[in-house]
Subunit: 231 residues, 4 copies
């Protein structure tokens, strides 16, 4: 069932260690088939070098396992919330990549300091608030998804233009049109988090890049007038 | 004698260079067989790429070599102290991994800033005091073990919940149920030490993560109600 | 047509991922045949591990594609400006290498702090001003070239002695006698940017190196009295 | 002539890129045969992946080439000064390794912050003064050697206990009983330079480690009472 999707999601998961984004099993990727409303996700706590395409767990939008011999990622309920809210999302990624975690632990949005950031994220990458003790007790992973959604709604940020977030004291989630693009955005977020820290170290009084540079670069790669690449 | 243990300890030692935790021979792993009270440990100063399972040295809890053609690690007496005091420990690791050493040299506990830390260490990772000149002269490696124990006792920290320490001006020791888990905790400690430094660089006024996040994440992976992984 | 040039430019492009200067497709190298006034450049947005020598796009100094099945790099117009202005340049490189970008985003020239820098760049590596919104709207990539030229002209810096620049909020461009040397200078610029940041962290009040050291080292490797290497 | 020495020096040179200490050709190792007073050294500007044992150049203590088809390293005269002054030295290394250069450019001694440092360098690693314009003009590489010697003499530091130095605005030189040990010390110096910077970032008010720790660790590995390793 959904063999092609499982293969894609498997390959997207395997990109995480290859790109240096995960230590041990600390990350997970999912990808959804919108027609059936079923997504494939990494099993919980399984080592990447033992992972096979058929190990991917199929889950529906009620968070119920539809197929699979393993338990799905412990973060599955967060993926469900994001898929339910944002219908244009086809893939979701969570990692504990080093520099993104540093910004999450520091509790700061990642400012847009240049074109590397603007090529993929058209604005600062927001940092959520902490969950309350009650939200943690009630349903930690569900509420992690809800606080991401709250963050984008309260700030009026479009998840299509800013395809990632950092959760306070935790780490990054990214998304995209499919699992592969969500991983791409996770790689970009980590690189941009690293560059932003070094930028502030070179110049502690640095200001964000001008809006005209942000818009120019984002629109070179996205939307009707994009002219980067071969399409 | 204890061939299976020697093989496990050999493999755990070989993880250190693979995970980037050691330069040259700067590290050692041991694992104990509690029934016989004998542990296997890396020989002193032997290069990792020349190491073989049969080179592991067998030592008893009086610190006497029971089997082996090599001298055991110069830190053997520290391992003995930890095994004697903490009966639930099955493996011990010492490294000079870069970021953990930086915190040890700086003489600061590593604060708990987020979930990556809380998943494995349920509180700050303590930094011991320095040994006195008399303690160094008398029995340096024995007293290194004793000052680790003193640190946990005086602070009332349970070594089961905080499976590692940094020794002032020296470096980290970690432990676990076996040699393999002790190495795992050494990898986590180094990653967490790195993230904590970057976190303070992103926000010099950062506060530790709330206790509710610490407890939630530690209990996702440990204890009766753990639900991470496949067990 | 120009098969040897395309091969050289292909190989120079492949150095970028090998030397750790690019993530995904974020970089481009070109090399020019001065006789015909035609240069070969990487196609836009094509992955390095799929790239072949015959994929290089041939472009003339009006920025028109002369040969090639792909669209050329989106930064092609910047390369054109540099080739037109500086007749001694045979190769141009653009990357988003991490530390060079940090200085670009911070909006600071990279000071000459030592001999590693002076061996290849005989003075600070300048940071351009930002383009105005009008310059961005009118012709972003052409004007990126023009603002580089303006920077060197206004400061009276010779591009032969300082073979690279960082564009504000963007990243580095380097050049050389051919594509290969331009890549070499991109590697040096990144290493020098990293060293300069760490230097300021070790000593926030550090001053640039004395002129006599700068001149000695630059002239060991360049000009009539050079004595480094085998020629 | 001296085939065994050339092979040893070749292999010691090849350790530099393997250990991440050099970019391109920026480094050189030599080793001396004290009986004949002839040393083997890397040829100038030759790429490491093209280097062969027979390419090593033989030079005498007047700095004259005795055998070899290539020109010797441009830093040869510095090696000569060190070999002439310190008869117990059997190998010399120069690199531009990143963190050691940062301290050299910052113009600061590397403080002894812990046991990793003390295991190999029994005190701070000194930073020389700059050469004067006259010293540079007269004989740059000879005077680089002389200013290293001056630094150790004026401070009363024994080069046997502190087997390395950083030259202001330039980079590190290390030495040892042979070429191989000199490379080992170059690796240690770079790691210690990195740890020292991170240590100061974790605690800007950090003090050097106590003398009793310094002496204990240095003497575990050196001198009559050493007990680290198998000898």
């Amino acid at each position: 069932m959904l063999e092609e999707l499982k293969k894609q999601v498997y390959e997207a998961n395997m990109e995480l260690p290859k790109r240096g984004l995960v230590t041990y099993t600390w990350g997970n990727v999912s990808g959804i088939d919108r027609e059936s409303g079923i997504f494939a996700i990494k099993p919980s706590g399984v080592e990447y070098d033992e992972l096979k395409p058929e190990d991917m767990v199929l889950v529906n939008l009620n968070g119920e396992v539809v197929e699979g011999k393993y338990k799905p990622s412990s973060d599955t309920a967060t993926h469900v919330e994001l898929y339910k809210k944002y219908e244009n999302i086809g893939g979701v990624v969570h990692t504990h990549s080093t520099y993104a975690v540093a910004w999450a632990q520091a509790g700061r949005d990642i400012p847009l300091y240049g074109t590397t950031h603007a090529d993929y994220f058209c604005g600062p990458i927001p940092c959520t608030r902490n969950l309350t003790p009650e939200e943690i007790d009630e349903a930690y992973e569900v509420n992690t998804g809800k606080v991401i959604i709250e963050t984008f709604e309260e700030r009026g940020v479009n998840t299509k233009y800013v395809p990632g977030v950092i959760c306070k004291n935790h780490g990054p989630f990214t998304w995209g049109k499919d699992a592969n693009q969500a991983v791409y955005n996770a790689v970009v977020l980590e690189e941009v988090a690293k560059m932003a820290l070094f930028t502030e170290q070179v110049n502690p009084k640095v200001e964000p890049a001008p809006d005209c540079i942000r818009d120019k670069h984002f629109n070179r790669k996205h939307g009707a007038n994009a002219y980067y690449g071969q399409n």
